[in-house]
Amino acid sequence: MSDVSLVVNGKAVRGTVEDRTLLVQFLRENLGLTGTHVGCDTSQCGACVVHVDGKAVKSCTMLAAQASGSTVVTIEGLAEGSELHPVQAAFRDNHGLQCGFCTPGMIMAAVDMIGRHPAGLDEPTVRAELEGNICRCTGYHNIVKAILAASQTMAAGGGAASRAA
C-alpha cells in the first residue's frame, strides 16, 4: 500500500491506496471526481487528461503514488465558481461536444495546448496537437473551432484567461 498526498483542485487530499492504483482511479474512486473518464486501456484516447503540476497528463498513465506531492487540476476544478473557463465556454458556444464523454479530457488538453502556444494557434497545429485525444461524435470540426476561438479569447485577455493554463 502507498500513502499519497496531493493537492487536487486547490484542496489538500491524502489517502492510502494499493500500489497499482492509477491516478485516474484515485481521482474517480477515492475522491469521487468522476468528470475524468477512462475510455481505453492503452493511453490512446485522452478521456482521462488532467493537469499535474501545470502539465496535461493522461491520468491512466500515472500511478497515484507517482502523483503524490503534486498539484492536480481536473475538469471539476477548471471553472471558477459559476464562471466557466474560456475553453469550457468555447466548447459550449461552438458545439464542440455531443455525448460529452471525451469532453473533459479534450478541454484539459486544449487548455494545456493554448498555454503552450502563447503566440496563438492555427487549424493544422490544433489538429496535430489533438493527436492524443479521440472523439467519436463530433468529427473534430467543432472541437477545432472551439479551441481556436478559446485561444483568441484568451489571447485577448478574455474570461479568466491567465489562470489554470
Binding site: 489533438l130 461524435c137 470540426h141 473551432k145
Partner: protein, 784 residues
C-alpha cells in the same frame, strides 16, 4: 420565438454538466455496498468447455462469488435472442442458434463470456478471474462468412446447417435477369464492405441492484433504448417481471448502434446481484469492448448494374453474403435485409432490382446495426458501381447520376420503399458548386506539378429513417412496434416536463425537444425540461436509433402538445369568456385574437390545477400523453463530394476538401444538425481510410483489439467540412422532419473511395484505403 424556437441555433442545455465534469455515466454511479464484476472470457474462437473449476478463484482476496453458465441456466435465465424474424426464400424461418449469457458447454468467439467474478474491488475481481480454471477442447474456427459457407467449414450451431442463418431475397429475379440480358452495358463489381467496431468513447457498463426487501431490480446500463432493454430482459431473459425491473440509461457516452442491443453483461449483473445479494457493477475495458461490442458491416457482394444504350439503368442484381458473427444479436437480421436491400434503388429510377442475401455464422463477435445499419452498405455498393459505370461508359459521373435520378414523387421502388419527397438534383448542384467541381481539372494539374495525385469523387445517397410504421415492420418480421411515446406535463406554475421514450446520448434532445415546446407554447427554453432514460419515469418508449428521435420522437411530443393546447384553449376561453376558436397561443400567453385580452401561460396552468374555475365537467390538471406511429419511413438524401491528394511515394491520402449537401427536411437546430453530419462524415472517412476489424483467419484471434491496432480517425485525419442543407419537407410526419444522424456515415465512404480511385487510375481498391493499399494499387496500375 426566433431566438429559442424551431430553427434557432440554440447552444445546448445539456452542455453545462459535461464541460464541468458533472455528467453522470454508468461508471460514475455508486450504490451503497456496490461490488465489482469481471467476466471470464474465452481465449479461443471455437472450443468445447470440458470443465469450469472455480474453487481456487473463490478463495482469492475480496471475492464474493464466482458464477457460471450452469448456475445461470439452473436459475432459468433465458438465451439471448434476435427480435426480427426473417424467412428464407424457401419459406423456412431463420436458423437461430442458442446464445447463453454465460456459455455452458461451448464457446464460439474470442471474448464469449464463460463465468463472472464478483469481488470487493475491480482489481480483486480481475485477479480472481485469472484463477478460474477452464478446460477447453479447441475446435477449428472460421472467421470469413464466405469461407463459412464452403463445404467442410467448421460448424457453429446445430440449428444452422452449413452456418447458413437464412438465404433471403427481395425483388423480381426474372425481370432483373431479363434486363441484364438485353442491356447495352453491364457494370460488374465485387464489393467488400469492411468490418468495423463502433467504438463509442464510453465503454459499455452495467450496474445491477437487486433489492431483496422489495424483490425489485434496478439496472443502470449504457443503453440507447432502456425500455426495450426492460421489455426484452423481462419477457425473454427472465431477469424479473417488468413491474419488478427498472432500467436506467443515464448519460450515455455515444452509441452509434452498439448500445441498442441487450448484451450478456447487463443480464448477468442483474442476476449476479440477486445471487450474491450485493449491487454488482461491470465496466468494459477497451479491449473487452473491441471483443464483445456488436460489430458493424462485413458484407461481401457481387453486383451487376445494367444500362440501356441511352445510359439509363434498367436493372440491378446484387448477391450479398453477410457475416453475423457467432450469435444473432438483437436486430442483426434486419440490417442486411430490410434496412439494406430496400435502399438498393438509391436515388435512381431502376425498373428491376433483385437482391439475394445469405446470413452466415462465423467465429467472430456478433454483428448488428452500426451507424447507418444496412444503408451504408447499400450506398457504398450503388455509388461505387455508379462511379465505375460512368468511367466505363466514358460519361461524367455527375451526369450519369442526374440522368437516372427519380424526379417525381411519391415514387414506388421495386424494393418496397415508397419515396415521399426529394429533389436530388438540388443536392447534386449544391455539392458541385460548393466543391468548385468545374475547377477540379486546374487543381489536378497544379497538384501534378507538385508531384501529387489529385482525385475527386461523389456519392448521391438516400437512406430511410424514422423507422417506422409498426404494422409495416410487423409484417416484415419485427418483434416490436416502432412508434414513440411522449408525455407533456405542465406544472402548476407553468414550467414543463416532457417525458420521452427517445434516449439522448449526444444528439442534444434536451435542447431540440425543448425548442419545439418553446416554439409551440411561447414559454422560455429554460422552463422546459426533457426527461428520458428511466423506465420508472417514462412509461414506455422505443429508443434512439435509425435517426428516429426527430421524425418519430418529436412527432409524439407534437401530438401531446396538440392535446395540451386544446385543453389550455378551452380553459382560456372559459376564463376570458371568449370563443375557443378565437384563442391564440403566443409569447407565453393565451390571447383572444383581435382583442387585448390575455392570460399568461403560468396563470393558465395555475387555473388548471387550482380548478376553482374550470369549464363544467373538465378534469383538473394539464398533462397529456401521446403515442405516435409514423405513416412511412422518411427519406433523407444528399450528395457528398470528396477531393483527395495522394502522395505517390507513400500512398498517403490527404482529404483536401469534403462537401456535403443534405436534404433533411425541416430542421429544429442547424447547429446540432451540422454536428451530426460532421460526426457521421468522420466515421465514414474512418471506414474508407483507416478502420478495419481483423481476425486472424487461422486462430480466430481479434488482431485489432485496442487503439494501438484499430485506427480511429483523429483530428489530423479529417479536414473541416463544408456542409449545407436543402429542404423538401417530409410529408409523412407533422414536423416535416427526415432525420440527420446517420447520413454522414452513409454518404461518405463511396465519395472517398471514388476520389482515390479517380486519383490513382485504378478501381482495384478496398476499404480501408490505407497508405499501403493505395501505394500497392498505384504500383499495380502503373505496371499495366
Amino acid at each position: 420565438m426566433g431566438m429559442e424556437g424551431v430553427g434557432a441555433r440554440v447552444t445546448r442545455k445539456e452542455d453545462k454538466r459535461f464541460i464541468t465534469g458533472l455528467g453522470r455515466f454508468v461508471d460514475d454511479m455508486v450504490v451503497p455496498g456496490m461490488k465489482h464484476a469481471v467476466f471470464v472470457r474465452s481465449p479461443h474462437a471455437h472450443a468445447g468447455i470440458t470443465s469450469v473449476d472455480v474453487t481456487r478463484a473463490e478463495t482469492m482476496p475480496g471475492v464474493i462469488g464466482v458464477l457460471t453458465g450452469r448456475q445461470l441456466k439452473a436459475d432459468g435465465i433465458g438465451n439471448l435472442i434476435c427480435g426480427w424474424m426473417i424467412h428464407s426464400k424457401d419459406g423456412t424461418p431463420m436458423k437461430m442458434g442458442a446464445w447463453s449469457p454465460l456459455a455452458v458447454d461451448r464457446v464460439r468467439y474470442v471474448g464469449d463470456a464463460v463465468a463472472v467474478v464478483v469481488a470487493d474491488t475491480r482489481a480483486q475481481a480481475r485477479d480472481a478471474a485469472e484463477a478460474v480454471d477452464i478446460a477447453y477442447e479447441e475446435k477449428d474456427a472460421v472467421t470469413s462468412a464466405v469461407r463459412a459457407l464452403e463445404p467442410g467449414a467448421p460448424q457453429l450451431h446445430p440449428e444452422a446447417e452449413n452456418n447458413l442463418i437464412f438465404d433471403w431475397s427481395l425483388g423480381d429475379l426474372a425481370a432483373t435477369d431479363a434486363a441484364i440480358a438485353r442491356a447495352a452495358h453491364v457494370t460488374r463489381m465485387h464489393i467488400v464492405n469492411n468490418r468495423l467496431v463502433p467504438n463509442a468513447m464510453e465503454p459499455r457498463a452495467a450496474l445491477g441492484h437487486y433489492n431483496r426487501a422489495e424483490d425489485h431490480t434496478t439496472c443502470w446500463t449504457t443503453s440507447q433504448n432502456p425500455h426495450v432493454a426492460r421489455l426484452v430482459m423481462s419477457a425473454f431473459y427472465n431477469v424479473a417481471p417488468e413491474n419488478k425491473l427498472r432500467v436506467i440509461a443515464p448519460d450515455v457516452g455515444g452509441g452509434f448502434g452498439s448500445k441498442i442491443f441487450i448484451y450478456p453483461e447487463e443480464v448477468v449483473c442483474c442476476w449476479a446481484s440477486k445471487k450474491t445479494n450485493v449491487p454488482v457493477k461491470w465496466v468494459a475495458d477497451r479491449t473487452e469492448s473491441f471483443l464483445t461490442d456488436a460489430h458493424g458491416r462485413d458484407h461481401v457482394s457481387e453486383v451487376e448494374m445494367a444500362f440501356d444504350a441511352d445510359n439509363r439503368i434498367i436493372g440491378l442484381k446484387v448477391d450479398t453474403i453477410a457475416n453475423f458473427g457467432a450469435y444473432m444479436s438483437l436486430f442483426s437480421s434486419s440490417v442486411p435485409t430490410y434496412l439494406y436491400a430496400t435502399l438498393l434503388s438509391g436515388q435512381y429510377d431502376i425498373p428491376a432490382i433483385h437482391a439475394n442475401v445469405r446470413a452466415v455464422y462465423t467465429n467472430t463477435a456478433p454483428v448488428d446495426a452500426y451507424r447507418g445499419a444496412g444503408r451504408p452498405e447499400a450506398t457504398y455498393l450503388l455509388e461505387r458501381t455508379m462511379e465505375t459505370a460512368a468511367r466505363e461508359l466514358g460519361v461524367s459521373p455527375a451526369e450519369l447520376r442526374r440522368k437516372n435520378f427519380i424526379t417525381e414523387f411519391p415514387h414506388q421502388t421495386p424494393v418496397i420503399m415508397n419515396y415521399d419527397a426529394g429533389d436530388y438534383a438540388v443536392s447534386l448542384d449544391a455539392a458541385m458548386n460548393a466543391a468548385d467541381y468545374q475547377g477540379f481539372a486546374a487543381r489536378k494539374a497544379e497538384a501534378a506539378a507538385r508531384g501529387k495525385l489529385r482525385g475527386i469523387g461523389m456519392s448521391s445517397y438516400i437512406e430511410a429513417c424514422g423507422i417506422a410504421p409498426s404494422a409495416a415492420v410487423g409484417s416484415l418480421g419485427a418483434g416490436v412496434g416502432l412508434w414513440e411515446s411522449a408525455e407533456v406535463r405542465v406544472n402548476a406554475v407553468g414550467t414543463i416536463e416532457v417525458l420521452t421514450g427517445s434516449h439522448s446520448h449526444g444528439q442534444g434532445h434536451e435542447t431540440t425537444f425543448a425548442q419545439l415546446v418553446t416554439q409551440r407554447l411561447g414559454v422560455p427554453l429554460d422552463s422546459v425540461s426533457i426527461v428520458h432514460g428511466d423506465t420508472d419515469k417514462v412509461q414506455m418508449g422505443m429508443g434512439t436509433y435509425g435517426s428516429r428521435s426527430g421524425a418519430v420522437g418529436m412527432s409524439a411530443i407534437s401530438k401531446a402538445l396538440d392535446k395540451v393546447e386544446a385543453k389550455a384553449r378551452k380553459i382560456a376561453a372559459h376564463l376570458m369568456e371568449a370563443d375557443e376558436g378565437d384563442i391564440v397561443i403566443e409569447d407565453g400567453a393565451l390571447k383572444v385574437a383581435g382583442t387585448d385580452k390575455s392570460v399568461p401561460w403560468f396563470q393558465l396552468a395555475l387555473a388548471a390545477y387550482t380548478a376553482h374555475n374550470l369549464p363544467a365537467g373538465m378534469e383538473p390538471g394539464l398533462k397529456e400523453t401521446a403515442f405516435y406511429d409514423p405513416s412511412n419511413f422518411t427519406f433523407p438524401a444528399g450528395c457528398y463530394i470528396c477531393e483527395v491528394e495522394i502522395d505517390p511515394d507513400t500512398g498517403h491520402t490527404a482529404i483536401v476538401q469534403f462537401v456535403a449537401a443534405d436534404d433533411f427536411g425541416n430542421i429544429i437546430n442547424p447547429m446540432i444538425v451540422e454536428g451530426q453530419v460532421h460526426g457521421g462524415i468522420a466515421q465514414g472517412v474512418g471506414q474508407a481510410l483507416l478502420e478495419g476489424c481483423h481476425y486472424d483467419p487461422a486462430s480466430g484471434q481479434l488482431l485489432t483489439a485496442s487503439y494501438m491496432d484499430y485506427t480511429m480517425p483523429r483530428a489530423g485525419d479529417v479536414p473541416s467540412f463544408q456542409i449545407s442543407t436543402s429542404n423538401t419537407p417530409c410529408p409523412g410526419n407533422p414536423l416535416g422532419m427526415k432525420g440527420c444522424g446517420e447520413a454522414g456515415a452513409i454518404g461518405s465512404p463511396p465519395a472517398v473511395i471514388n476520389a482515390i480511385t479517380d486519383a490513382i487510375g485504378s478501381n482495384d481498391l478496398s476499404m480501408p484505403a490505407t497508405s499501403e493499399r493505395v501505394w500497392a494499387a498505384l504500383k499495380a496500375a502503373t505496371r499495366h
